[in-house]
Symmetry: C2
Subunit: 190 residues, 2 copies
DNA sequence: GATTTTACTTACTAGTCAGTAAGTTGTCAA
DNA sequence: TTGACAACTTACTGACTAGTAAGTAAAATC
């Protein structure tokens, strides 16, 4: 018997990476098991169904995001720095690793994933939007950002851009993604 | 024997819809066959491998796009009208049908699709960007658009936004997509 | 009218998928 | 020392996957 260290966490890490690499329909329990040197059933022991596994990945991501944004290191930043922090997540942790956003990955396959997962994706997307929106409103009030229209709509635009931009980076390279980030800033900063 | 009318075209239509609905890994020959009331092998007769089918869908899309943009009905439009035409494709033919963009769909699964498909996706993405870029440059010169930075980067931003926006519409509804389109215009029009 | 070609069906293969039931092993607590 | 429990393995199922080879029927070509 091969013992996995920190089994649940290790499996979640791998599942998250695979989700961002190939999508929900693109990876299997066998992928995870062989990568960890255990049998399929070992993964089913921790996450009985694939839906359970998918939901756990998203729930962990949501928890992590909540922790981050409520942490003083982010919470006390100036709006401009918050923006850079947010962008840096996408650049360093996604684009540079050839990963795409969990949200985008699962929304493309939205019609072929379990309902429980769909709901989780919705909640996650709403939380990201809500944070972005309040950050944008705060920044515009503080005179750091300049844009027309509602903060909610600008937030939706920015998140959509990041999501699509990561996918573009897959086919056309990370430089393109950095260009998009720069353009986002040109369209926002005073 | 059940005969399909316009076999190749009908299969391509269905495959395109399924690609936009569930992604490349989310549909099977069996889906197409049962929908058309024929057997799996009938689809393989027209498109021996799934890669062949995927490539044919993209190639047809590329041809269609070339025809459109070179047609006088689009070519002779003012930049602002060209923009509206382009956006209307995404609103009417995608968002309102719950579909996502072919490019985004296949870029999410980029690492788990055949190489031949990857190349096709790349070419398609570049062609869309090239057209958008020249349209933006033309529009800015004509005084219809206002934006900082390179047209190429603004084009990459807009296409990324549309791509991500369609995916967002899946989870959060089409109204959100329309809001994003409005925000794109606010950030571009004089 | 005979032959070829097109467009399928039948019947199959080998591989993969998520998921399960029953058995094994190591650890820890009483 | 015993018993319970956690974390696996073994061995399997039924469904689905892309893909193939051989056969058939109708239509087009000669």
């Amino acid at each position: 018997m091969v013992k996995i260290e920190n089994s649940k966490k290790t499996i979640l890490n791998l599942a998250e990476a695979l989700l961002q690499d190939m999508g929900f329909n693109g990876f299997s329990y066998a992928h995870i098991a062989s990568e960890l040197g255990v049998k399929n059933a070992a993964i089913h022991y921790h996450f009985p169904t694939k839906e359970d596994l998918g939901r756990a990945v998203i729930q962990r991501y949501r928890d992590r995001f909540k922790l981050w944004v409520n942490n003083a290191r982010v919470k006390d930043l100036a709006p401009q720095e918050k923006l850079d922090w947010f962008f840096s997540i996408y650049t360093a942790m996604r684009a540079d690793q050839g990963k795409v956003c969990l949200v985008g990955s699962m929304e493309v396959e939205f019609n072929s994933i379990p309902e429980g997962l769909q709901a989780e994706v919705q909640s996650m997307h709403k939380e990201l939007l809500a944070w972005l929106e309040s950050m944008l409103a705060e920044g515009r009030d503080a005179g750091a950002f300049r844009f027309n229209g509602e903060p909610a709509n600008k937030a939706a635009l920015i998140l959509s851009t990041l999501q699509g931009g990561l996918q573009m980076a897959r086919a056309l390279g990370t430089k393109k993604f950095r260009d998009v980030i720069e353009q986002l800033k040109l369209d926002l900063l005073v």
